[in-house]
């Protein structure tokens, strides 16, 4: 399907994820054992046949470049089309938050204009799901809408998508207004912040915003068009998580322990790709015990692991107990240490006998490279 190009916009407020994003962008937060957050949207695009994809980075993008690189693990390392990065030349979170992302889009105008696809899919990086964009594009073409927005109907999980955009839709699937989920309504439609429109329309929106100087964020430019343009909603029925707070990050990891979520995200034909690391197999020692755990390769389990997600190269030593936790790459849990409701960033070294307890609503984060 070479009618659709993709733009992944990584500029986002990271206030509620601070302890994980001080050293990286949201897109490069490790999740689900062997993945990074951006793997989901990138793989979704590739699985939908898209081959011309731009990533607008912002702030500390180094770990993202290291992870995605030339895009070869997504088969995006190509001569024609492929993967492109855009980064504000003078970058700092302050500048972007003050000036919005319109400037970045402005610097991409040449690229967008020079692309050959008729439609563009504009997304963020923090939505975790396995979605095929083909039906959405078909719907967009059939309805003749100017912009189509992907959304999911929520009738529970009141507080799950707090701070996310919500869309109000009439009986014709037209979008009447876009708001924000403050966590007070039981029924709402959360926006996946994935928009399909003609490439030309995107160019127009950017140029007009620059010209008028009245909005800082492209999103605002789109919202302003409600009433002016025909904006449709397209419903997504699958599993969705939004990584916009530590709580939601933790819950998304725990969701991946559910067989039905695993099935949908990881065992369908549409695979989630990630960087390849060549770790050895995982070894479970005599007298170890593992139950309800997602374990990546290269781990050595000598103790007890329950209800947890382990990244590559984690070593749980003899007598150590890891419960209800997310353990990132190369952590070491010392003998008879006890970890519960915790998030351990990469390379954390927990000394023997130490006990750390978080809470299901407030999992604690131990920062990268700490020795505790």
């Amino acid at each position: 399907m070479n009618e659709l190009m993709g733009i992944i916009n990584l500029s986002a407020s990271t206030e509620k994820l601070k302890s994980l994003t001080e050293i990286r962008t949201i897109g490069s937060i490790p999740i689900g054992g062997r993945y990074r957050v951006i793997d989901f949207i990138l793989s979704n695009m590739v699985n939908s046949g898209m081959s011309n994809i731009a990533i607008c980075t912002q702030g500390k993008a180094r770990s993202l470049y290291d992870h995605v690189g030339s895009g070869k693990y997504w088969d995006l390392d190509r001569k024609k089309d492929g993967l492109y990065y855009f980064h504000p030349e003078a970058s700092s979170i302050d500048i972007v938050q003050k000036k919005g992302d319109i400037e970045i889009f402005n610097s991409m105008l040449g690229f967008i204009k020079g692309s050959k696809q008729e439609y563009v899919l504009l997304t963020r990086s923090y939505m975790v799901c396995n979605v095929d964009f083909l039906p959405m594009l078909e719907y967009h073409k059939e309805t003749g809408a100017d912009i189509t927005v992907l959304y999911k109907r929520m009738n529970n999980h009141v507080r799950r998508f707090i701070d996310c955009d919500t869309v109000n839709i009439d009986e014709n699937d037209s979008i009447i207004s876009i708001g924000k989920n403050l966590g007070k309504k039981k029924f709402y439609n959360v926006s996946l912040e994935m928009y399909i429109m003609k490439r030309e329309l995107l160019v127009e929106l950017i140029e007009e915003s620059i010209h008028l100087g009245d909005v800082d964020f492209l999103k605002q430019a789109i919202f302003k068009q409600i009433g002016e343009l025909d904006i449709k909603g397209f419903a997504f029925e699958g599993y969705l998580a939004c990584i916009n707070s530590i709580q939601n990050y933790y819950k998304a990891n725990m969701d991946m322990l559910l067989p039905e979520v695993q099935e949908e995200l990881f065992h369908s034909d549409a695979l989630i790709y990630t960087k390849i690391k060549d770790e050895p197999s995982t070894f479970y020692a005599d007298d170890s015990y593992t139950s309800n755990a997602l374990v990546s390769s290269g781990c050595i389990i000598e103790g007890v692991v329950e209800n947890s997600v382990l990244s590559r190269g984690v070593h749980v030593k003899k007598g150590a107990i890891v419960r209800n936790s997310v353990i990132m790459q190369n952590c070491e849990i010392g003998e008879t240490a006890n970890i519960n409701y915790m998030i351990l960033d990469k390379n954390v070294d927990v000394s023997e006998k130490r006990v750390f307890n978080g809470d299901v609503e407030h999992p604690f984060v131990i920062a990268k490279n700490s020795k505790v």
Binding site: Y284, L294, V295, L310
Partner: protein
Amino acid sequence: MSKFKKEIMAMILAGGQGSRLKEMTHKIAKPAVPFGGKYRIIDFALSNCANSEIDTVGILTQYEPYVLNSHIGIGSPWDLDRQHGGVRVLPPYYNRSGGRWYKGTANAIYENISFIDRYEPEYILILSGDHIYNMDYAKMLAFHKKKKAEVTIAVKEVTFEEAQRFGILSSDESDRIYDFEEKPKNPKSTMASMGIYIFNWALLREALIEDENNPDSKNDFGKNIIPKLVNENADVFSYEYSGYWRDVGTVESLWEANMDLLNPESDLDLFNPKWKIYSANTISPPQYIAPQANVEKSIVNDGCIIKGSVKNSIISTKVKIGANSVIESSVIMPDAVIEDGVHLYKTIVMSGVVVKDNTVVKGNDKEVILVTGE
């Protein structure tokens, strides 16, 4: 320094069927047989090359090369997807005088002389694609240079009984080889050739041409080339290797080598970050150990879903093990599905096989049972 010239390049013999592996090699060549949960046998030779910084490798294929070809692909797992050098699969081909299958190990190299010549190598490393071992060929090359050898043969001490299955050689205190016998009835020593040779290319090139012109020759390294060079008093040296090395020629030895991975005493270490074994990676999620599962003293890989009990076993990539199944002392190859209530002991389950509900298969002290799904 020309980019085309290489000091040393490797040629891996990967054309054999390996018929003692029974049904396992009906559709794939022996070097492509899965091993250790996430590898194929040839990964060891290829990773040794990559780790020894040998970046030009030819792989000689003949028998059922398709799986092997797909596995090697463009060589990226071993960092061998290079603009110059890299890995190249070398099947037999037609020329003006007709089709030329490889007649023997030496003939396979002979047919590819022009491929080798292109890199103008000083030295050539001949390897077999069906051995399990971690070896630094750079050290062997340093030995070869230090001895000013024309040929260096890697050797390993074996038992007297085993010696009858190998090429056995005798060398003096300076490591110079004065006698070589292929599979002798009465071995004169217990130093076995590992089938790993470094030759000065100029010398080997000449020897191959001579051998090809000899109508009585079997065109084999062990039977013809090496004995002839030893008899002619060439500077042939033995390089003793003491690490793990296994020729997994039978179902039993394949099972045993897999079990060695679970033995902390074994020299076969796949967790060494300085000597990684690389393989073509599948795209699979982390393994999931379900609440009711129990996994002990075992190796498990990406993409597995384990609901049963696993002990003392090797569970390969993307294997599913159902509830109430018990897997003991077994090797489950990739993509196999073990349904519910199955009991396996001392078995090898072949790739992709589905073992139906409540099946019981048990090997015994003498025999490992190969589960083929037929």
